[in-house]
Symmetry: C2
Subunit: 237 residues, 2 copies
């Protein structure tokens, strides 16, 4: 307790003398370093990419020593998992915003908004998106915080599928396979774009937004057509 007081005093003085140079500094020392580190991680990954996300770099970005994070996180993976979890929460917000921007007039349009929101988030925050799906950095199996955030994000998709099924706009009543398919579709486009793979193919010419709309559209078309597995067996349309 006594020690903590001393820190705050010391830092307040430092903050004052350097205020012009880095105003952000003082804000990080009001007792919420944990949040400050997560914000620093989000900002750093957005600026410099996943590669730059060392524990020391995040600490530097938050203006603390590289030993400080260990006060709030067991190790590097736990810190990055928390950053990734924050990313999933932002993705959920982006999806919610997409349904606000284009109020759905049907359950299927609600589903489309989920896909559009997912892609919008990935395209707007490519580096964070990358981190969110890099299990060797975040070790999701060991970090319930991250798993829960993932579950919330996935839940928005699951809910939209279930709603469409209940409304009779999609066949079946088990959302598992349709959800996997819809997720695969938008996730695939997201990573192909974010990893700049499309750019190296003839497809690079088509504007990404056009591809995004088309892919979401085709995905829903596939879901609607679901209960005809024999269609592929060669019979012409």
């Amino acid at each position: 307790m006594v020690r903590r007081q001393l820190y705050i005093v010391k830092i307040a003085v430092m903050g004052k003398s350097r205020r012009a140079k880095s105003r952000r500094k003082r804000a990080y020392h009001h007792g919420d370093l944990r949040t400050a580190l997560i914000d620093a991680g989000l900002d750093l990954v957005a600026r410099r990419g996943v590669q730059a996300l060392s524990l020391r770099a995040v600490a530097r970005h938050a203006q603390v020593s590289h030993a400080a994070p260990y006060h709030h996180f067991a190790d590097k993976a736990e810190l990055l998992a928390a950053v990734a979890a924050a990313g999933f929460d932002r993705m959920v917000a982006a999806i919610a915003q997409a349904t606000v921007d284009h109020p759905p007039r049907s359950a299927l349009e609600g589903l489309r908004a989920v896909g559009v929101g997912y892609l919008r988030f990935a395209f707007t925050h490519p580096a964070i998106f990358r981190l969110m799906f890099r299990p060797e950095l975040t070790r999701p199996a060991a970090h319930p915080v991250l798993q829960n955030a993932e579950a919330r994000a996935f839940g928005t998709l699951l809910t939209a599928i279930r709603a469409a099924q209940r409304a009779g706009e999609l066949p079946g009543n088990d959302p598992a396979v349709p959800a996997t398919f819809a997720w695969s579709t938008v996730h695939g486009l997201a990573v192909l774009h974010v990893d700049q793979v499309l750019r190296e193919t003839p497809l690079g010419a088509v504007p990404i937004q056009e591809l995004a709309d088309a892919v979401v559209q085709l995905s829903i078309a596939g879901l609607q057509a679901a209960p005809r597995p024999e269609a592929v067996n060669g019979a012409p349309r």
Copy 2:
């Protein structure tokens, strides 16, 4: 020239004395170190994952000093790009094998075989697959070898789509959007599985092979339904 002879003699002797311990060693010194390094990279990534692919580790795995690779590759990225390119070639082979295993009776079945082959490769060689789509490690823009290999792989999909369009089994005559959609679909499932994301959702229960078949099926269904963009606007089936 003289120097090279000396190396070979020296290594031959070493190889002899250690033959029981590492038979592979001698094979790496017949003048094709480049290939040996690529093979070592493929083997190493499969065993220990993308994380383990340092230039030095690859050299170690190939039983040469860590300076040796610079004789054949400008830097680490060029080596990893060559490994990734070899991965794309193996993927093309896997796709070809899938069409052999299940000879298509229609253009659409040919397209399905491409998707199944893609997924089979990803599931069989997850770590190599990961490397193939990690541009920060391979810097594809700087390595034509890799870009060409990517183009060959993508070409198999493009060809299958075009064939289906010409046969009248798929609508339209521009393969760009259908190819992007089909690729996104299988690629999305591949990375969600390889990155073990599905495992952390309720979907983890469904066997991956079942998901793979369903996703390919639904993808093709979406392509067939393509020319009805108004279908999503709420009209019940």
